[in-house]
Symmetry: C2
Subunit: 492 residues, 2 copies
Amino acid sequence: MPSDLPLAERRHSVAAALRARLPERVVLSDPEDTRPYECDGLAAYRQLPMIVTLPENEEQVVTILNVCRELGVRIVPRGAGTGLSGGAMPISDGVVVSTARLNRIVRMDPYARVAVVQPGVRNLAISEAAAPHGLYYAPDPSSQIACTIGGNVAENSGGVHCLKYGLTVHNVLRVRVATIEGDVVELGGEALDAPGLDLLSVFIGSEGMLGIVTEVTVKLVPKPAQARVIMASFDDVVTGANAVASVIAAGIIPAGLEMMDRTSSRMVEPFVHAGYDTDAAAILLCEADGTELEVEEEIGRMSAVLEDAGASAIAVSRSEAERLKFWSGRKNAFPAAGRISPDYYCMDGTIPRKNLAQVLRGIERMEQEFGLRCANVFHAGDGNLHPLILFDANKPDEFERAEAFGAAILALCVEVGGTITGEHGVGIEKIGSMCIQFTRAELDTFFAVKRAFDVSFLLNPDKAIPTLHRCAEFGRMHVSKGQLPFADLPRF
Amino acid sequence: MPSDLPLAERRHSVAAALRARLPERVVLSDPEDTRPYECDGLAAYRQLPMIVTLPENEEQVVTILNVCRELGVRIVPRGAGTGLSGGAMPISDGVVVSTARLNRIVRMDPYARVAVVQPGVRNLAISEAAAPHGLYYAPDPSSQIACTIGGNVAENSGGVHCLKYGLTVHNVLRVRVATIEGDVVELGGEALDAPGLDLLSVFIGSEGMLGIVTEVTVKLVPKPAQARVIMASFDDVVTGANAVASVIAAGIIPAGLEMMDRTSSRMVEPFVHAGYDTDAAAILLCEADGTELEVEEEIGRMSAVLEDAGASAIAVSRSEAERLKFWSGRKNAFPAAGRISPDYYCMDGTIPRKNLAQVLRGIERMEQEFGLRCANVFHAGDGNLHPLILFDANKPDEFERAEAFGAAILALCVEVGGTITGEHGVGIEKIGSMCIQFTRAELDTFFAVKRAFDVSFLLNPDKAIPTLHRCAEFGRMHVSKGQLPFADLPRF
């Protein structure tokens, strides 16, 4: 189909081609119907899609892919739209494929400890369905009440427990994928290892660029008999950051190890009354889970390490209710930010734990430089930072300053040997920062693999991996490994 | 270079091209020098390589790749040659790239708990170097005294502790890879997650088909304060197999959970005096590790579960010496097989734990069918079987019967929802069985990814992934998912 047709005409003919092979209710083309799909959690960027499809089974997914491939129409897969990096942002002349109606739990096997679910099943719904068997699905993004397992697969989502239990990639055993060629392939399996190339891992976190997932087999883990959490206060952020390293260095892998600075705890406390020490420069939340004996021992060891590391106060949850209260503040940090600032920008960089203090000091300096406040609340145990940059989009250039602030934080993360994303993905938000993270040969390799799955670049194009042209425009040179990969491109 | 040149001439000119750019000692072309490289641990297959190279640094690896690419010469990467599936079997007109001289520990960082090593460093040497810091590298293949980390990466090796600590893919953070294009790329990183496609996981276990690893960053874990092992006896194999499932179902992840049948324990006991109950139809070894309290609690819980599951006797190691004695039998099962049978064939299939009993009974039946004995000694907790088929290659068609027996075991593994390899790779040994495991679309996807890294198929060609032609010759149809992928090929 010639792409220079006026949009309305193109919409009309693509919709007709889809409707010829799919039930009426599966294809939305009226802008009134497609408006709700114009953005995901990165709401600063909006684009009305040409068409939205809501397939109800795998066969319909394959049909949509076949029609789009035959017509050369680009596709944006979409889960619940809670993503924070714009991975599900539509294309003006593209088709959104929403997995919202693929929401069936196919099989729950408590004996083998696996659940087979469709991609539109919500993260929390899996744990709810597994609860009668004493099991749950471990990765727990803050959005777990809304986000879907298909979206989790696309972004390789984490959560507060992934220090101990791993990211999505560590908890998914198998995916069924509809490819742009209209094939259905299975990647991975229920066995510990699979022969052939590990395409499951490459698919997880591929941000909708390699295929559309139609079924996911997840690992379930036993609900620990008990969990308790320590809240430790620190008089300065550096001492708190170093305490994180001490806990890990002592050979303890807490079930959660989170840090909040004073800006964050003061932001959230009036809102949720979590009982936080708002005088402390930083607080750490360290959870132990397991049998009663295990928890008792680990809480004891962690308390000792935290005291040695200079904690000014230590409180341990005395009941499940108090444990949940301690966590409620952490889990509601983002909504709380919305109460004290008209807008906020949530970053997601990951750094080696040993550089926590250095990067936090760097962010402090940047607050001055960019004239914006930043609240730090993050997965300290993983070194996964979530600085919340507070701004007001209605004030002149605050949005631009917030973006520049965010990019500067990511550049610092890469500089100390970290990465530009921990769990939120690259999407459109961080595509420029990818040019700092990777060499040209590395980006080339990504594209080669992308091409192996999708030779015409129809699946979620222009997301996640920047072209060399884009990097040249971005004007960044990757130098962290002593190479200047774009040396043969014009300098800026 | 035209490939129809006589071999001697071709050897001469390729060696000359290599020697023009590399020190003399790096290139071996005399058959007397290259003979030791004619096979790996799958010694039934032998092939003298045209040339062997022994690069001493990354730059030399890149040079060898460049020369081979320019001349269109195929390459077989090789670690210590302990692999059991023929992944390092040479090609008559190809160049072997051995990593033997890339054996330097580059950096040991006990604070970040990582070691950076060259690919030729032996698996055990990493743990030895980390020991002064109270750390070790977890995956422990039986061959760990000899096998190298580069080979472990190529095969995604496991070991007796991988139920709790994971396979190579779970313990490697980053690899540096020299590609066939002569680029050096880094895959993965020290952070919990990396942006872009997860090419680290696809590289691990890719059996030398995607590039040559020049540096590996591994995770180190703290040496547990204590470890103890239970030896549980069972009157029949089925009860033992079901006990394995019971342990896991009780929410326990033992540090090791291994099973040996009577054939195995009687084979090994006279040789190592491990103290095994040779009257039992099967014994289980279940290890707990951690702090003293944790170990005590877990040993107690495991003993209770094993008793409930029908163990006829239970012994718990009372000292570190006794623990090592219990394990010594398991670790020496393969050499012991060599004492009672002129030859043995070690299989490596993985099945869902719930099918253990069914598959073991199936193997028993096959012993009659193929007229050969089989000793079963395996990673029961992972469902990773290692049936040892005992035969005498000097007797007419025993080798062929052993191969057919092995293929039948793998077919049974796939039938019950398992896979044809747990940790030994596909290599040349199981390339036929791949046709049963995967659909045509799945094999196509593997090839597309292979092509993304190596468009001319110069890197370890004809290993691991079968061509459709090969599957047609093999005469197998993949039907386990209700599809007949090769339906358009001639039937056999």
